[in-house]
Amino acid sequence: MKGDASAGTGELVIRARRGWQPIDLAEIWRYRELLGFLAWRDVTIRYRQTVLGAVWAVAQPLTAALIFTVFFQRLGDPRGDGPPYPLFVFVGLVPWLFFANAVTAAGASMVGNPQLVSKIYFPRVFIPLSSIGALLVDLVLSLAAAAALMLVFRWPPSPAVAWLPLFLVATVLTAVGPGLILAALNVHYRDVKYAVPFLVQMGLFVTPVIYPLAGMPARLQPLAALNPMTGPVEGVRHALLGTPVRAELVATSLTVGVLLFVAGLYVFRRMERRLADVI
């Protein structure tokens, strides 16, 4: 696609696209309002006709934190000077559940909205992006719950809290990459629907959510750093609770996440051409 109709008077040439294409940022900017509308739609629909509404956003990490506390308390703090385990695991679950829910929602988003794909054109990437965007509300609510828990446990925020926005952005970018790839793959191969819950479940155990990265055998730690969610989880916990981190491992993981994000944009762009024919 070249020479896009920018102000409405331009010339648009429609032809077969081949090979790898970069994301068309100008087009995305032009349609930006729609992205907001779609995300707003996803948020509204999720909470309409629910009695508890936003409570559900917090109930999931709270329940999970409670269960992990009961069963895995001893995993949390090998040295015994860290935050209480319930707080430790809850703060770890905040980025992890965002990632897990975002990847799941994005993966199902295209297949769940076939008319948006086959009856109208707008940047297709908005469909998975808006379903991830809607989950930002949950992320904010669960962060608020984390703050409340810190008050309850009288655990003051660490001086590293200034880094929190960076790690939150990293969390979102890390979710977008695989989310886009799975969204496009799901249209072609419905196998994705069955694979995602399985991968997300496994992911919880190979990511340092319910245990600290430092709790892993030292020679496995560099390997764990290749997991793109290791950095965000360790980072958010470091920023809020002041748990110790190995900066080089976190940086490695964040880099993997960013690479995955860029790869997601390209893969989605390449697959989106055929989506309307296949869905």
Binding site: M1, A5, G8, T9, G10, E11, L12, V13, I14, R15, A16, R17, Y31, E33, L34, F37, L38, R41, T44, I45, R48, Q49, Q115, L116, V117, S118, K119, I120, Y121, F122, H188, Y189, R190, D191, R273, R274, A276, D277, V278
Partner: protein, 421 residues
């Protein structure tokens, strides 16, 4: 006039079976990926399971033109619209579009049942490419057009299907693109609303905007459009003035039997004959009042006469002739049967005969009707020709009031009065 759409050598290929242009499942993709490259090439060349939905189509559309895109189902119309709307890429060829193009392949795309009417107007408007400010500026107009002000804050899942369509179309009708591409969206909603939509489309085209309109509703097409593109099996079969395009389409659709403009139809070699039937029906002639050949349209309520030439191979008693009128969409409208006339008597006959059917007043509303002719002998249909002719009923002052009947299926003489209660 400036060309706003130029299609050059446009082609689109689909894979048959799954309707997909891609591989079906992960396993197949893996298996294929493992095969040597040379095998794959051979498979692609040998693969006869490809289908050209569009094949080497070229045309120009000038600014302000209102173009009908017509053709039978599967002719490639929808594929063309999807390419113009950028929903799918062509396999080959290019389209150049100058100006803001909006497409309407479905009304209410993006509507969500849980959202209220108001919320859906904003959402749908955004999906169709309107800015928030534009929607807000036209919001009252949209609501007035849909006539749903009282239900704005009700979730659309509680709307009747008619209300739903009205709201959806109202949003679409307030798009202001330079080029509008519309699929058969007018087939929904009740007649009054359809007229409102047609009126709105007429308005759009009078404002000098370019419209591409896909429809099977030939009267609407002829009323709204200036030129036509006829598609057949993925190729552009005809382009020209809308009247000629519709004629071309109908002629092609009826296997060449209905030669519009001529009152005599040769049935002997009709391609639409009932399979396996002997060609006993030979000829159909159509007339209006006083034996005047029916060459053009028949005024609403005018006399109609059909003369059917046929051949009886052996001495026959109890001949029965049936004329059936269907709309172009296949809805059965009227059955005329010689057996309905108690005065019709047919003694034993052999050889060539002409059976004459007179209808003193054909009270159908304006539109095109297909005529099917059938011959029954001894209660069994022995020969029949579908789409033997097309009768085009045109508006006329049937009631003598100056108000021309246009909608509904038929007209009837009627008397009205008002009494003091």
């Amino acid at each position: 006039m400036a060309v706003v759409i130029r299609a050059e050598g446009l082609s689109k290929r689909y894979r048959l079976g799954t309707g997909s242009a891609e591989l079906d499942n992960l396993r197949e993709a893996f298996v294929r990926g493992l095969r040597p490259w040379t095998w794959r090439r051979r498979e692609d060349r040998a693969g006869g399971d490809w289908f050209w939905a569009l094949h080497d189509v070229s045309f120009d559309v000038e600014q302000g033109d209102v173009v009908a895109i017509i053709g039978p189902n599967g002719a490639g119309k929808s594929t063309l619209l999807k390419i113009l709307s950028r929903i799918t890429d062509p396999t080959d060829g290019t389209v150049t579009v100058r100006g803001r193009l909006s497409s309407l392949l479905e009304v209410g795309t993006g509507f969500h049942p849980e959202l209220t009417g108001r919320e859906n107007v904003y959402l749908n408007g955004a999906v169709l490419g309107m800015r928030k400010a534009e929607i807000a500026a036209r919001f009252d107009e949209i609501v007035a057009f849909a006539d749903l002000a009282a239900f704005l804050d009700t979730p659309v899942k509680r709307y009747s299907s008619g209300m739903y369509v009205r709201l959806a179309f109202a949003v679409a009708a307030h798009l202001e693109p330079e080029i509008l591409v519309v699929d058969e969206v007018l087939a929904v909603g009740d007649v009054a609303f359809q007229r409102k939509c047609l009126g709105k489309m007429g308005e759009v085209s009078r404002e000098g905007r370019t419209v591409l309109f896909v429809s099977h509703n030939m009267p609407a097409v002829e009323h709204l459009c200036r030129s036509g593109l006829v598609f057949q099996r993925g190729r552009l079969a005809y382009r020209g003035a809308v009247r000629d395009a519709v004629d071309h389409y109908v002629r092609a659709a009826t296997g060449g039997a209905a030669d519009a403009g001529s009152h005599v139809v040769d049935l002997a070699g009709a391609a639409t004959r009932k399979p396996g039937a002997p060609a006993l029906l030979r000829r159909l002639e159509l007339f209006t009042a006083d034996g005047v050949p029916l060459d053009g349209g028949l005024a609403v309520g005018a006399p109609f006469e059909a003369r059917v030439g046929l051949v009886l191979e052996r001495p026959t008693v109890g001949l029965e002739l049936v004329l059936r009128f269907d709309t172009l969409l296949g809805q059965r409208i009227l059955v005329a049967n010689s057996a309905f006339d108690p005065a019709f008597a047919c003694d034993e006959r052999t050889g060539a005969q002409t059976v004459i059917c007179e209808i003193p007043s054909l009270t159908l509303t304006p539109g095109d009707y297909r005529v099917r002719v059938a011959l029954n002998l001894g209660g069994v249909e022995v020969d029949a020709v579908d789409d033997a002719a097309r009768v085009s009923v045109v508006p006329a002052d049937f009631y003598g009031s100056g108000r021309l009947p246009r909608t509904g299926t038929f007209v009837l003489p009627q008397r009205w009065r008002v009494d003091r209660a």
